[in-house]
C-alpha cells in the first residue's frame, strides 16, 4: 500500500516524463509517416553521404581529442596552482560553454579571419573556412567544458591521497601518474562521448565556417534536406543514421571504459601542495598559453565593437530590441520547462534509487534525458510541426515548438547540473527523512538551501542555451519570429559584419546578465560566486 501511495505522489513527475516521451514518439511517428522507408536502401549507395559521415566522424574525433588533450594539463594546472586571474578564468570557462555559437563564430572570424587580428599582427593567414575553422570553434567551446568535467573528477580524489603525496614528496608528474590519472580516466570516456556528440551534431559552426560541401556534417545535410529540398524521407533516414552512429559510438566507448561511480565525497576537499619542479612550471605555462591563445582572444574580440561609433546606432535600431524580446519570449519559457522536466526526471530517479528492485532505473532515466543529444533538434522540431499541422494547428504552433525543442535540447545539461547534488541529498538524508516522517514540501524546504545553487546553474544553462539557439529557429524563423541569434545571422549573411558584431555584444551581455540574475536570485547570494566554479573544491 505504501508503494501505491508513493506512486500516487509521483504522478506529476510521471506525467512530466511521460509527456516528454509522448512528444518524442509523436514527432518521430509523424516524420516516419511522411517517409518512404523502402527507398532508404538507395541512399546507402550514395558516395557523397558516406563522405559526409566520414567527415562528421573525423572532425568530431579530432575536436573532442584535441579538446581533452589540452584540457588535461589545464585542469591539473588549475588544481595545483593559485595565480592572479584564476577565478576569472574559471568563470570564463563556465560561460564559454554556453556562449551562443554564432557569437563565438564572429569572435573567431575577428581573430583568425583574413583581415583579422592574427593576420594584422603577425601576417599569419589561416584557412579559416574548412576543417581548421571548425576545429578552432569546437575547441573554443569544448575545451572549457572538458576542463570543468575533469575538475569534477578531481573532486573525487580523497584528501588523504593528496596528503600522502605531499608527505612522500611527489613531483607533479608522479602525482599525476599515480593519483590524478586514475580518477581522470574515469571521467574521460564520459567527457569524450559528450563532446563527441556535441561536435558530431554541430550545425551553426559547420554552416558558417565549413566553406562548402567538402566539409559538411550529417546535421548540415539534414538541414539541407529539410530546408531546401523539403525531402522528409531523406531527413528521416539521415537522422536515424545519426542516432545510430552516436549510439554505437557511446556504447563502444562505455564498454571499453571503466565505470564512473558517483561518489558521495563531493564535500569540500582540502588539498596539500606537491613538490614543484621546473618541468612542471614549464608544462603549466604551455597549458595556460594554449588557453590564452584559443579561448581568450575570441572573447575579447566579441566585446571589441563597444568602442565603435556604430555601436550606439545599432543600439537604437528597433529591429534589435524586437529580436531581444523574441529571444526572451523563447528562452524564459524554455528554461522554465526544461527545469521542470529536469526536476521530474530527478524525482523519479530519486524514488527508484532507494528501492533495490528499481536500482537500474536512475541511470536509464539519465540516459533517456541524454538521448536528445543524439537526435538532431531540427528533426524533432520538424516531426512535431508535421504532427501539429496534421492536427490542423497550423503555423501558429511554431512558437511553442521552438520553445519546447529548446527546452528538451537543454535537458541533458539541466540533468548534469541537478542530478549529482540531488542524489547526494537523497543519500545523506534518506534515513533521517524516513525516521522523522518528513515528506514532500518539507523535504524540498529543508533541502532548498543545499540545492538552490545547482537549480540556478541548471536554469542558467537552459536559459543561455535557448537564448543562443540557431538550429530550430533557423527552420521556423521568419518575420515576427526573429530571435537575436537569427537577426545576427541575417546581418552576417548580408555582410554587415560590423553591425553584427555590435548585436553580438548585446547578445552576450544579455546572456551574462541573465546568468548572473539566475545565479543571484535562484542560487542565493552566498553561492553566486561559487557557482561558476562548479564545486566548492575548485576554489580550495
Amino acid at each position: 500500500m505504501l508503494f501505491f501511495s508513493a506512486v500516487k505522489g509521483l504522478l506529476p513527475a510521471l506525467l512530466g516524463v511521460g509527456f516528454f516521451l509522448f512528444m518524442g514518439a509523436a514527432s518521430l511517428a509523424a516524420l516516419l509517416r511522411y517517409s518512404d522507408i523502402s527507398s532508404w536502401s538507395e541512399y546507402l549507395y550514395d558516395p557523397y553521404l558516406w563522405r559526409v559521415v566520414r567527415f562528421s566522424l573525423w572532425q568530431a574525433l579530432l575536436s573532442s581529442g584535441i579538446s581533452l588533450l589540452i584540457a588535461i594539463p589545464v585542469a591539473s594546472c588549475l588544481i595545483h596552482r593559485q595565480f592572479r586571474g584564476r577565478a576569472i578564468l574559471l568563470q570564463l570557462f563556465a560561460v564559454s560553454m554556453v556562449v551562443p555559437t554564432i557569437v563565438a563564430i564572429l569572435g573567431l572570424v575577428v581573430v583568425y579571419g583574413r583581415t583579422g587580428w592574427l593576420s594584422q599582427l603577425f601576417g599569419v593567414q589561416i584557412p579559416l573556412y574548412g576543417l581548421v575553422g571548425i576545429l578552432l570553434a569546437h575547441v573554443f567551446f569544448n575545451m572549457p567544458l572538458a576542463v570543468r568535467l575533469l575538475l569534477q573528477g578531481y573532486g573525487l580524489i580523497p584528501s588523504g591521497q593528496w596528503r600522502q603525496a605531499s608527505q612522500l614528496g611527489f613531483s607533479r608528474w608522479s602525482a599525476f601518474r599515480l593519483i590524478e590519472w586514475h580518477y581522470m580516466k574515469k571521467v574521460l570516456p564520459g567527457a569524450f562521448v559528450l563532446i563527441f556528440m556535441l561536435c558530431f551534431s554541430s550545425f551553426a559552426v559547420v554552416l558558417s565556417l565549413g566553406g562548402g560541401p567538402k566539409s559538411s556534417t550529417l546535421e548540415v545535410a539534414i538541414y539541407q534536406a529539410l530546408r531546401f529540398d523539403f525531402d522528409l524521407n531523406k531527413a528521416s533516414f539521415l537522422s536515424l543514421l545519426q542516432v545510430s552512429i552516436c549510439t554505437l559510438f557511446a556504447v563502444v566507448v562505455y564498454r571499453i571504459a571503466p565505470i564512473n561511480q558517483q561518489d558521495a565525497s563531493v564535500l569540500a576537499v582540502k588539498s596539500y601542495p606537491v613538490k614543484d619542479t621546473f618541468l612542471a612550471k614549464g608544462a603549466d605555462c604551455i597549458a595556460l598559453l594554449c588557453v590564452l591563445v584559443l579561448v581568450i582572444p575570441p572573447f575579447l574580440a566579441i566585446f571589441d565593437p563597444i568602442f565603435s561609433p556604430l555601436f550606439l546606432t545599432t543600439l537604437l535600431s528597433s529591429g534589435l530590441w524586437q529580436a531581444v524580446l523574441v529571444s526572451l519570449k523563447i528562452a524564459l519559457p524554455a528554461a522554465i520547462i526544461s527545469l521542470l522536466l529536469g526536476v521530474c526526471f530527478v524525482v523519479l530517479a530519486r524514488f527508484c534509487m532507494a528501492r533495490h528492485y528499481l536500482r537500474v532505473l536512475p541511470s536509464k532515466l539519465e540516459h533517456l534525458g541524454n538521448m536528445i543529444l543524439m537526435v538532431p533538434g531540427l528533426v524533432i522540431a520538424t516531426g512535431l510541426f508535421l504532427w501539429l499541422r496534421d492536427l490542423d494547428w497550423g503555423f501558429q504552433s511554431s512558437y511553442w515548438i521552438v520553445v519546447w525543442v529548446n527546452a528538451v535540447m537543454a535537458l541533458p545539461f539541466v540533468l548534469r547540473a541537478l542530478m549529482p547534488v540531488l542524489y547526494q541529498q537523497e543519500r545523506r538524508f534518506r534515513n533521517l527523512y524516513l525516521s522523522l516522517g518528513i515528506r514532500s514540501w518539507s523535504r524540498w524546504c529543508l533541502e532548498w538551501s543545499l540545492i538552490r545553487a545547482s537549480m540556478a546553474q541548471a536554469f542558467g544553462y537552459a536559459l543561455l542555451l535557448s537564448l543562443g539557439d540557431m538550429g530550430v529557429i533557423a527552420l521556423f524563423g521568419s518575420q515576427g519570429l526573429v530571435s537575436l541569434p537569427l537577426y545576427l545571422f541575417q546581418l552576417i549573411g548580408s555582410y554587415r559584419l560590423e553591425e553584427g558584431a555590435c548585436v553580438a555584444v548585446v547578445l552576450i551581455s544579455l546572456c551574462l546578465i541573465l546568468f548572473y540574475c539566475s545565479s543571484r536570485f535562484i542560487g542565493g547570494k552566498a553561492d553566486s560566486g561559487k557557482m561558476a566554479g562548479g564545486r566548492s573544491l575548485v576554489n580550495h
Partner: protein
C-alpha cells in the same frame, strides 16, 4: 508519501507564468486585408525593390502588403511545402525557371489568369502557373583594376588554376543551380571532370548569392558568380566602374525569376490582383535599379545607361525545363561527387 506536492505547485505556477508570458508577447493576429508574399531576403530588404513595390501596390489595393523574407529562393518553396495547406502565403515571389517543375509538382500552386502577351522574354511566355517578373544572365564578375587579363569564356574560368573563384551551392541558391546548368550545357558529359578542375581553385562554395558577393567585395576572390547586370549596380548606386562581367564565348545562361499564387491563399482576390500587378509599371519599373535585373515588359522610360554595358549574350544557352527537372538531382550529385573527392 506525497513528496511531490512541491513540484506540483511549481509546475502549475510556472506553467501559468509561461502561458501568460506567451500570450502577452505573441504578436497580434494579422488583419484580414493583408496579402502575404513569400520572397527572398534581398528582394524584401530596405535596399531591394520590396519597399517600393509595397508602396505602389498598397496605393491602389487599399490593403497591406506583407513581405515574408526567407533566406533564399529555394527556401521559399520549401517553406511553403513545409507549411502545406496551413500556409499563410498568398503569393510566392522569387522562384526561377529551373525550380518551376519542382514547384508545380508540390501541388500547392494555383493557375493564374494574367495576360502575358506583352512579356519580352525571347520566345515569349506560355505558362499557366507562373508569371515572370525579371530576367538576366548569369556571369562571372571581376574587379578590372586587379584582374588585368579577365577570362573570356567559361572554359577559361574552369581551367585557369590561378584564378580564385567563389560560387554558390546549387542546392541552396538559384545562381548556383544556374552555374550547374551552364556547366552542363557547355561540357555535357564531361561536366564532372570540369567541376573537378574548378574545385582545385575554388575559395569557397557559399550558401547564397549575398554570401558569395560579399566575400568577393572583401577581396577574397578574383571572380564571383553573379549576373551581367551586377556592374550596373556599382555604376548607378556607387559610381564605381571597376567591376565588370566576364565575357563567355560559349554563350550565357539566362535566369528568369517567376511568381505564382497559392491554391490555399487566404486572400485569393488580392493574390490575383497582385499577379496582374507584377507585369504593370508599378512593379516592373522597380526591377532594374532595385533587384538589378532586367524588366520583362517594355517600359516607357529607358533604363539607366549603365545597363547598356550589360553584356549581350552571343548565344543564350537554355536546357529544356523537362530535362532540368528530371536530371537535377543526378546533376547535383555529380557536382557533389566531383567537388568533394
Amino acid at each position: 508519501m506525497k513528496k511531490l506536492s512541491f513540484s506540483t505547485l511549481l509546475t502549475t505556477s510556472l506553467m501559468t507564468l509561461s502561458a501568460t508570458l506567451g500570450v502577452a508577447f505573441s504578436s497580434a493576429t494579422l488583419a484580414a486585408e493583408t496579402l502575404n508574399v513569400y520572397t527572398y531576403d534581398a528582394f524584401a530588404s530596405d535596399w531591394g525593390p520590396g519597399p517600393k513595390i509595397k508602396a505602389n501596390f498598397e496605393k491602389e489595393c487599399g490593403c497591406e502588403l506583407n513581405f515574408v523574407a526567407l533566406d533564399s529562393s529555394v527556401g521559399i518553396l520549401s517553406r511553403a511545402q513545409f507549411e502545406g495547406k496551413s500556409s499563410q502565403a498568398d503569393v510566392l515571389l522569387g522562384l526561377d525557371l529551373n525550380l518551376m517543375e519542382a514547384a508545380k509538382k508540390s501541388g500547392l500552386l494555383a493557375e493564374h489568369d494574367v495576360n502575358t502577351s506583352a512579356v519580352t522574354i525571347a520566345g515569349g511566355w506560355k505558362d499557366n502557373v507562373f508569371v515572370p517578373f525579371d530576367q538576366g544572365n548569369f556571369a562571372f564578375v571581376y574587379n578590372s583594376e586587379i584582374l588585368k587579363n579577365p577570362p573570356t569564356s567559361l572554359k577559361d574560368i574552369v581551367d585557369n588554376q590561378n584564378l580564385r573563384v567563389i560560387y554558390q551551392d546549387p542546392r541552396t541558391s538559384t545562381p548556383g543551380l544556374g552555374l550547374l546548368l551552364w556547366m552542363k550545357s557547355v561540357y555535357g558529359d564531361d561536366a564532372a571532370a570540369a567541376w573537378g578542375r574548378l574545385a582545385s581553385h575554388t575559395v569557397t562554395v557559399t550558401k547564397s548569392w549575398s554570401d558569395a558577393y560579399g566575400l568577393f567585395l572583401k577581396g577574397e576572390a578574383d571572380v564571383v558568380l553573379s549576373y551581367t547586370t551586377s556592374p550596373a549596380y556599382h555604376i548607378v548606386a556607387e559610381g564605381v566602374t571597376k567591376y565588370k562581367a566576364a565575357q563567355a564565348s560559349e554563350g550565357l545562361y539566362p535566369q528568369i525569376e517567376v511568381a505564382a499564387m497559392m491554391k490555399s491563399a487566404p486572400n485569393p482576390e488580392l493574390a490575383k490582383r497582385f499577379m496582374q500587378f507584377i507585369l504593370e509599371p508599378g512593379f516592373q519599373s522597380t526591377v532594374a535599379t532595385g533587384n538589378w535585373m532586367l524588366p520583362v515588359v517594355k517600359l516607357n522610360e529607358a533604363l539607366p545607361a549603365a545597363f547598356d554595358s550589360a553584356l549581350q549574350p552571343t548565344k543564350v544557352l537554355t536546357l529544356p525545363a523537362g530535362d532540368v527537372a528530371t536530371n537535377r538531382k543526378a546533376w547535383v550529385n555529380e557536382w557533389l561527387n566531383a567537388t568533394t573527392r
